[in-house]
């Protein structure tokens, strides 16, 4: 049934465009919403993996080799939620029917690509879906045909293609060593490989590619530009799911299920993670553009996920996956907030804003919740995932890294307090006296995301036992 999550978006693009294009124009948005809702419900209410025998029979002849475990399930959930909110934000931002129709079509392609990445278990199919996602995101970044957006998209293309070339080189070498491209065969071959040096080289360049795609600190060049220059709804998707699925999920999946841990790999992950956590937070402190600060904050939070993955323990992995989920939710929420502020006031420069909390109560409140969750204040969801990661680092005897990770939380709090003070608190500027709270689409998505953040924090014991610890069911093939 899960292959239908890839196929239905593709079919809907065809159906929307081919026969009745003019008639279908209005319905594109609702198709998008419906598909994301179907995805959320399919994940939440069919943990055993049987939605209905009818669809299963219908799609069985098209079956790609897919697998599903709790990690995939959590990613599918994130993708559904974030696409739902992004579609609402886009509906609010653009009233032009034609442009909205085009946007929703690309969004559906992106959905198919993201679901594909999460579901495949073959390293070459992984590459195919990575490229589908990447191409859709290039188009989406440049969607408004603005000068900055083109510039950001070009930077992203160059780095993404280089990452792809590295990844393909790795695939080629693995094909030579293992004779096949499925995760299971590669994993089995790497355990008993005679060509140790070649295998290590392949693993190293694959890691580099995943780091570039995920925008981790030494490889982050394209990320702040792409996040800040793209249209508001696209920033939500990019920060919420695209880099997380393309970079971080791939990293977790490949390291955990295919390559396996070795001391050198652990060290690389620890160093890269720590660099991202600290330097991302320091760079965020110096920004005055709302979205650019969030982008650097995103780099810093991805560092935590990499640190959790580096421990290699059950606890660390559960923390990493939970932080991945939380980060998708609260960073999308913050980007929706920035979109609301930008659409109301017309600027993203935080020095020109002040005291918006009085005029935009929902935006102000939800952004405080998201910031506190991101900074790791109990009982919000971000606290629990950071706690899991730091405890796992400590138990894995990486004391120095645990201390740095804990101290970097203070930096996170520092830049978010600075953001809140400059945008939402203080005295309202006179030229902003006329602004109103943003529209329904914004309010809906902000409320939903904020409720999820609070709910995941309060219901943490339940989530830990039912969703996160079963992450250990990730199998080695």
């Amino acid at each position: 049934m899960y292959s239908s999550l890839i196929l239905i978006p593709f079919f809907s693009v065809i159906v929307l465009n081919l026969p009745f294009r003019t008639l279908m124009k209005k319905s594109a948005f609702w198709v998008c919403i419906a598909l994301s809702l179907i995805q959320i419900f399919a994940v939440l209410f069919s943990p055993t993996g049987s939605l209905g025998n009818l669809t299963e029979m219908f799609f069985s002849f098209l079956r790609v080799d897919l697998w599903i475990d709790n990690l995939s399930r959590i990613m599918l959930l994130c993708i559904g939620i974030v696409l739902f909110t992004a579609a609402w934000v886009q509906k609010e931002l653009s009233k032009d029917e034609e442009r909205q129709f085009n946007f929703m079509n690309v969004l559906l392609l992106l959905l198919a690509g993201l679901n594909g990445i999460v579901l495949v278990r073959d390293i070459f199919s992984l590459y195919v879906f990575l490229e589908i996602t990447a191409v859709s995101s290039f188009i989406l970044i440049g969607f408004n045909k603005e000068r900055d957006a083109f510039e950001a998209a070009f930077k992203y293309i160059i780095l993404s293609v280089i990452a792809t070339a590295l990844m393909l080189t790795s695939i080629g070498l693995l094909l030579m060593i293992a004779g096949d491209t499925s995760f299971a065969t590669i994993s089995a071959t790497l355990k008993t490989s005679p060509d140790k040096l070649l295998a290590m080289f392949a693993v190293a360049i694959f890691l580099c590619a995943a780091f570039i795609k995920g925008g981790v600190m030494p490889f982050h060049g394209w990320l702040p530009d792409a996040y800040s220059a793209s249209p508001a709804s696209v920033s939500v998707i990019l920060a919420g799911v695209v880099t997380k699925t393309v970079g971080v999920y791939t990293l977790i999946r490949i390291v955990y299920s295919v390559f396996g841990y070795s001391p050198a790999l652990t060290l690389i992950l620890l160093i890269v993670g720590t660099l991202s956590v600290v330097l991302g937070a320091l760079a965020a402190l110096g920004q005055s553009d709302f979205k650019r600060m969030l982008a650097y904050s995103s780099i810093s939070q991805v560092g935590y996920i990499v640190l959790g993955l580096a421990t290699g323990s059950m606890l660390g992995l559960a923390g990493a996956v939970f932080h991945l989920f939380n980060h998708s939710i609260f960073k999308s929420l913050l980007f929706v907030n920035s979109a609301a502020v930008e659409s109301s006031t017309g600027t993203r420069n935080m020095d020109n804003l002040a005291g918006l909390a009085k005029k935009m109560p929902v935006t102000g409140t939800t952004s405080i919740l998201a910031s506190l969750s991101c900074a790791g204040i109990p009982p919000l969801a971000g606290f629990w995932s950071k706690l899991l990661i730091i405890v796992a680092l400590w138990m894995g005897k990486f004391y120095a890294f645990a201390i740095i990770a804990a101290l970097a939380s203070i930096l996170t709090l520092a830049y978010f307090l600075s953001l809140q003070r400059r945008v939402f608190f203080g005295k309202l500027r006179e030229d902003l006296a006329h602004i109103k709270e943003s529209g329904f689409g914004f309010l809906l998505s902000m409320t939903i995301l904020a409720l999820i953040t609070i709910g995941a924090g309060l219901g943490f014991p339940f989530i830990l036992n039912s969703f996160l610890l079963p992450v250990k069911t990730i199998s080695g093939g």
Partner: protein
């Protein structure tokens, strides 16, 4: 690996490395947007050759061929979008010089 296959691997390996170096040099040294894309193409061509050789050496040439055909199709799609973006940049800058792209920093 038998003698002949080792020989093939290393002689093709030389070409693959050369294509890689030429492609990377082109991307890093040029100030022209289109030339940067050409450099990327050369880079990907090196990888394509590597996959073919990998398939031959490991005895899975059919698998490698299907992978390479998929790869070529996808790469063309990526390059089409990239050229579209370059068109957009040229519309604003009236030139293809990368040094004119400097608005996003810091």
């Amino acid at each position: 690996m038998s003698g002949e296959i080792t020989h093939i691997f290393w002689s093709f390996g030389l070409f693959i490395v050369m294509l890689f170096v030429i492609g990377l040099y082109c991307v890093l040294m040029t100030y022209n947007l289109v030339r940067a894309l050409i450099g990327l193409e050369i880079l990907i061509k090196g990888v394509t050759l590597l996959i073919i050789v990998a398939g031959y050496v490991s005895g899975h040439i059919a698998l490698a061929q299907s992978l390479v055909i998929t790869l070529i199709v996808i790469e063309v799609v990526v390059m089409t979008v990239a050229v579209g973006i370059v068109f957009g940049i040229r519309h604003y800058n009236e030139s293809l010089d990368t040094r004119a792209i400097e608005k996003l920093k810091g």
